[in-house]
Amino acid sequence: MSVVTLTINDELVSAQEGETLLSVLHERGIDMPTLCHLDGLSERGGCRLCMVELEGSARLQAACVTQVQEGMIVHTHSERLVKYRKMILELLFSERNHVCAVCVMNGNCELQWEAAKIGMDHVRYDYLNPDLSMDASHDRFVLDHNRCILCTRCVRVCDEIEGAHVWDVMGRGVNSRVIIDLNQPWGTSQSCTSCGKCVQVCPTGALSAKGATVAEMEKQHNFLRWILDGREKNVWSYGNGK
């Protein structure tokens, strides 16, 4: 694979062709807020937090879905970008009932932490306060729509890694909801394998494990790398990886 050279924040950087800009930024240790992106899952480009400026392009681009190109000149933290990121986080907080103080993920939540990092210390928009339900019908897991940001990591991990496609999104716009099978209680799902991957990848308190205390609620993403590496090396195939 050939190497391309690009300029990120006035610094020359080399990267592998075909890599996404986001992965280069992460490799370089440049802090780039993300919510829908998760290493090991397909990219969605939906949260719009990793928007960057590309010189010569009128539009901002999401780094997670932009491939590096020779000669690209990238700015990641201009005043305008930081302002937009703050506004997007404000919109997310206003959309549903993110009451951190009474959330199971308090202290371990990616949304909460991204807001703190960027200095989004208040929301200027109306809180929409939608009337949303919780689903605690599963033996081990809980779904709380109040905390969901529709990043669809659960949908993707269930489809791409577990292969069950229990989850999907129903409706559209601000009325979208993640659903299980035919929008039915989780406990009644016949396709759910109860593997818990969705819970582990959920960035907020929308999906949580029952019976854990708030302090224990830290989620583990490393299983994704482990599974994907194993797949690549064929460790679970007959006659391979003995």
Binding site: H165, V166, R172, G173, N175, D181, N183
Partner: protein, 205 residues
């Protein structure tokens, strides 16, 4: 045991048109499935057929379609709820659609909606408790020259005022007091005068 099927009835040869489910409307769905060789990308076409045949998409129908196309249930449900055309609940006996396209809007169609909502105590997108009337709004029926326009059971009413519209609906409901549903081609989709009754229905946020 009364539910046991007698050997005789099981042996009876099934008519060519009869569907294993016993409901001939499923044959319509099967025909569309075959036309598209059971390809998964035909989902929307199949849902169109299913809704035309049954009037709305029940859970059972969605499961049937999902199994036939070998698609996950949540996928099918997600698609069926994404598009305004598909409805997952039975519709009222009578259907009144108010066009809310820009031309109708400029000519105060919103006042017609408000009048209907007031009279029948429902919001657009809902059906009255007695199941008699569904009121909905449409994006644009493309009859902008006749604005404001509403469609009552497939009949286009042009250049209405809130008062005249209410009067027409009242009269229409009174004429069909027996509860008989006006003729439709397939349940739910009326094609008279070229405007489909489910056209662009949207529910308010």
């Amino acid at each position: 045991m009364s539910v046991k099927t007698s050997p005789q009835s099981r042996a009876r040869p099934r008519a060519a048109t009869e569907h294993p489910s016993g409901d001939p409307r499923f044959s319509l769905i099967d025909r569309t499935l075959k036309r598209f060789s059971f390809q998964q990308d035909a989902l929307i076409e199949v849902l169109h057929t299913a809704q035309e045949a049954f009037g709305f998409l029940s859970d059972d129908l969605l499961i049937y379609v999902a199994h036939q196309l070998k698609l996950p249930l949540s996928w099918v449900y997600g698609v069926a709820t994404f598009y305004h055309f598909f409805t997952l609940t039975p519709q009222g006996q009578h259907n009144c659609i108010v066009c809310m396209g820009t031309a109708c809007y400029v000519k105060r169609a919103a006042e017609i909606v408000a009048a209907l909502q007031q009279e029948y105590q429902i919001t657009a997108g809902e059906t009255t408790a007695d199941g008699r009337l569904s009121v909905s709004t449409a994006r644009c029926l493309g009859s902008c020259g006749l604005a404001p326009v509403l469609v009552l059971d497939g009949e286009v009413l042009a250049r209405e005022t809130p008062e005249s519209a209410l009067e027409r609906v009242r009269q229409h409901l009174a004429e069909h007091a027996g509860g008989a549903k006006p003729e439709t081609n397939g349940a739910g989709v009326r094609e008279r005068n070229g405007i489909e009754s489910n056209g662009g229905i949207h529910e308010p946020i």
